[in-house]
């Protein structure tokens, strides 16, 4: 019996045909862009790097490449540097993307500590929350987590990369989950999948190569709600793609150099789930999937939480889970915003916030007067903006409000430090985050 949850919005999921199709591979883009830390990066122009070798600590070359320069992208965070690599196969015969050999290690010989070590060395990142897997495992181990979940909660429309991986590669996910359990010391493990998706061509099976699948229902957002619930407690979720990479790393010593993404939306000729090398520009992905119409908007990530790009050179990263195209520009903007006070934004907020009032205060420049609005609870699910009949960008207001609030608090803190008042020191503790977000 699906549990009733508060708020959220019902979305048309459009997960077919991507979910039922086989996962395709994109082998050789001409260029890849890898995110690097400039301090630790020292490469010469046209220096050669072999596949699966590090280009700098924690970043591995997905293919045979040569370094050709540095670049930033305007609409991603501009402080982030990307190194541009050309693929260089001229002196090598066709090499497969991820060589599948005989298992190099005996599975049983790998201990829990080894797993964490491997996850750290191979720079595996959880694709759902962008955290390093080894950190998550370590934290879970320290917290004494008893139940681990393989996370395939794709609650955003079009996105089915996680589900696709879970149902097409259950063997890999299962063994990866086993390794993760070993590392954490968890007793139970399940796979989590969002099942409120309407008609699927292939039914969602309840068990997959020995792994039990828990189906989650309810309105969008489910993943973020679940994440809040598990924030402190005996549960932890790990993305299925991270688990696949953990499996490969443990078996063949392969670092994480690919990501699984959904290529979809109304303009794509061949919507499907794809495994692509990290750093592949969107251009190549579009070429592989084929366009039947000119999209107005392309996003990295799903329609609710993604980022719109204007440059087809923008690369996919370990945390990218979808590249979606849209025929029409339905995005929110801060320009025309006449709120009619219908209150829908307040009624859908799954965190019971009041975006209507937050917007009002921010517009009036009275952030300071409304510390009681608890904008820090926002999980940025964008339900409020989705439902607003006037197309107001409420998430942006909530974010702005949080930022202004932070600035005010910092100013207060520094003022307090200038004139220390011993009786008040230490009273300023923050309220604890609650366990449930019903």
């Amino acid at each position: 019996m699906p549990k009733r949850v508060y708020g959220g919005v019902e979305l048309d999921q459009y997960k077919e045909p991507t979910f039922s199709r086989e996962i395709r591979r994109l082998d050789k883009p001409e260029k890849v862009y890898l995110p690097i830390d400039k301090e630790q990066f020292s490469m010469r122009y046209r220096q050669r790097v072999h596949q699966n070798q590090p280009v700098c600590p924690g970043v591995y070359a997905p293919l045979e490449v040569r370094f050709t320069g540095l670049q930033t992208f305007a609409h991603l965070d501009t402080s982030r540097q990307f190194a541009v690599f050309e693929t260089a196969y001229e002196d090598i015969e066709d090499a497969p993307l991820a060589p599948i050999g005989r298992p190099k290690r005996e599975y049983d010989a790998i201990s829990g500590e080894d797993v964490i070590e491997i996850a750290k060395k191979m720079a595996i990142i959880d694709e759902y929350d962008g955290q390093y897997l080894y950190q998550k495992l370590q934290r879970a181990k320290e917290a004494g987590v008893t139940v681990l979940y393989a996370n395939a909660i794709d609650d955003e429309p079009y996105v089915s990369a996680g589900m696709g991986v879970l149902y097409k590669m259950p063997h890999e996910v299962g063994i990866g989950l086993e390794f993760a359990c070993r590392a954490v010391g968890a007793k139970e493990s399940y796979a989590l999948v969002y099942a409120n998706v309407g008609d699927l061509d292939t039914p969602l099976k309840g068990s997959l190569s020995g792994m039990k699948v828990k189906k989650l229902y309810g309105n969008y957002p489910v993943y973020k709600r679940q994440a809040v619930q598990y924030r402190s407690g005996q549960n932890e979720m790990i993305g299925v793609c991270a688990l696949v990479h953990l499996y490969r790393a443990c078996r063949d010593d392969i670092p994480q150099t690919t990501c699984f993404i959904t290529v979809g939306g109304s303009c794509v000729a061949n919507p499907c789930n794809m495994e692509v090398p990290i750093g592949t520009p969107v251009y190549d992905i579009m070429e592989k999937a084929g366009l039947i119409k000119n999209p107005q908007v392309i996003t990295l990530g799903g329609p609710m939480t993604g980022v719109a790009i204007t440059d087809l050179d923008v690369p996919v990263e370990a945390t990218t889970r979808a590249v979606i195209t849209y025929e029409e520009n339905m995005g929110a903007s801060l320009e025309h915003d006449d709120c009619i006070g219908c209150g829908r934004c307040v009624q859908v907020c799954p965190r019971r916030l009041m975006p209507y009032y937050i917007r009002k205060y921010v517009k009036a420049g009275k952030t300071e007067e409304c510390m009681h609005l608890h904008a820090e609870r926002c999980i940025e699910c964008a339900c409020c903006s989705f439902i607003c009949p006037m197309g107001i960008d409420l998430v942006a207001y909530v974010q702005r409000y949080s930022q202004e609030l932070k600035a005010i608090e910092e100013a207060q803190k520094s003022r307090a430090q200038e004139a220390p008042q011993p009786q008040n020191a230490g009273e300023n503790t923050q309220t604890e985050e609650e366990n449930s977000c019903s």
Partner: protein, 324 residues
């Protein structure tokens, strides 16, 4: 390929602002048809005048406020329709028009236009009209008597059951006839069955949340049951209080209007209950039989406070539960 950068989300709920307003307009159409059935073409002409004057006034005000030509915003038009439907059919045309123009120009546009209306525009307009011309707004003609379009109304003027109730008398109408709207009263607000159908439509279209009119009517019924004004017994009291005046019309079109109401569910319920208590208070002790509109305006003033305090309480309880 020209890509545009916009903020998320990139998909939208389909119902837009104008769709919500149109829902209300459509819901009022059957009421207008019923008023035509009972009173002839006069109510229709009146509604038309009100709607047109509201829309024109709104456009002019938008222009004056430098907002440009806003043709699509039909919420003022709805306001005009609602005011006309709450009037007696025999009222001179200028009365509802004065109310409408006051509502649109003074209440709506000076207090912030489309957005940020602290007060329910329609209620304010109706209050203004009825306080300016009380002797015309609360006298009704008998239904099924066709009224002339122009010129003097020669039909007999009577008081509505709401007024009889006020005097403590028992209205001598059959409740069944009252269900069908066959009694003197506001031209669009008497037909209970049609009103219920409108309510169903609006709830299904999600333009109205069912619990708001439900709370309102339930509270009003409870008060009528506990403190009957008439000697005929408690049940009769409930029936006549429910069926008379603009109670149900107001519950559907005014109390449920979300724009000046609180935004959270619980606050809306409290707000609806508060409206009911005040409405009954005005009915019992007020000078005119006008109850709902001033009650609504008073509750409007508490919308924000209600939201804030309920939110605060909820967060407080949450934190306490975590710490426990």
């Amino acid at each position: 390929m020209q890509l545009t950068a916009k903020n998320r989300p990139y998909i939208r709920e389909s119902s837009s602002m104008s769709a919500i307003s149109w829902d209300f307009t459509i819901a009022m159409l059957p009421l207008m048809i019923m008023s035509y059935y009972y009173y002839g073409a006069r109510p229709l002409v009146m509604s038309l005048f009100c709607a047109a004057s509201a829309h024109i006034a709104s456009i002019l005000c938008s222009l004056l406020r430098g907002k440009g030509l806003v043709l699509k915003d039909i919420s003022s038009l709805n306001c005009g329709l609602m005011i006309s439907l709450m009037m007696p059919a025999a009222v001179p045309y200028y009365v509802p028009i004065v109310g409408t123009v006051f509502a649109v120009c003074v209440v709506k546009h000076t207090l912030g236009g489309l957005s940020n209306n602290p007060f329910n525009v329609t209620a304010a307009g109706f209050c203004f009209a009825s306080l300016t011309y009380p002797q015309m707004v609360f006298l009704y003609t008998l239904p099924l008597e066709k009224l002339p379009l122009f010129g003097d109304i020669t039909a007999k003027m009577v008081e509505s059951p709401a007024y009889t109730l006020k005097l403590g008398g028992m209205p001598n109408f059959d409740p069944l006839e009252m269900l069908l709207g066959n009694y003197p009263g506001p031209m669009g607000a008497t037909n209970i069955l049609v009103l219920l159908t409108c309510l169903l439509f609006l709830v299904l279209r999600r333009a109205v949340r069912w619990y708001v009119p439900a709370t309102f009517m339930a509270t009003a019924a409870a008060i009528a049951f506990l403190f009957p004004r008439i000697s005929g017994g408690r049940i009769d009291s409930v029936i006549f209080e429910m069926l008379s005046g603009t109670l149900l019309f107001g519950a559907i079109f005014l109390v449920s209007s979300p724009y000046s109401a609180p935004k959270t569910k619980l606050a809306q319920v409290v707000y609806a209950a508060g409206c009911a208590v005040l409405t009954m208070g005005f009915r019992y002790f007020g000078a005119y039989e006008l109850g709902l509109c001033p009650a609504l305006l008073i509750m409007n003033a508490f919308s924000h406070t209600l939201d804030r305090e309920i939110f605060r309480l909820r967060m407080y309880l949450k934190n306490r539960r975590v710490q426990a």
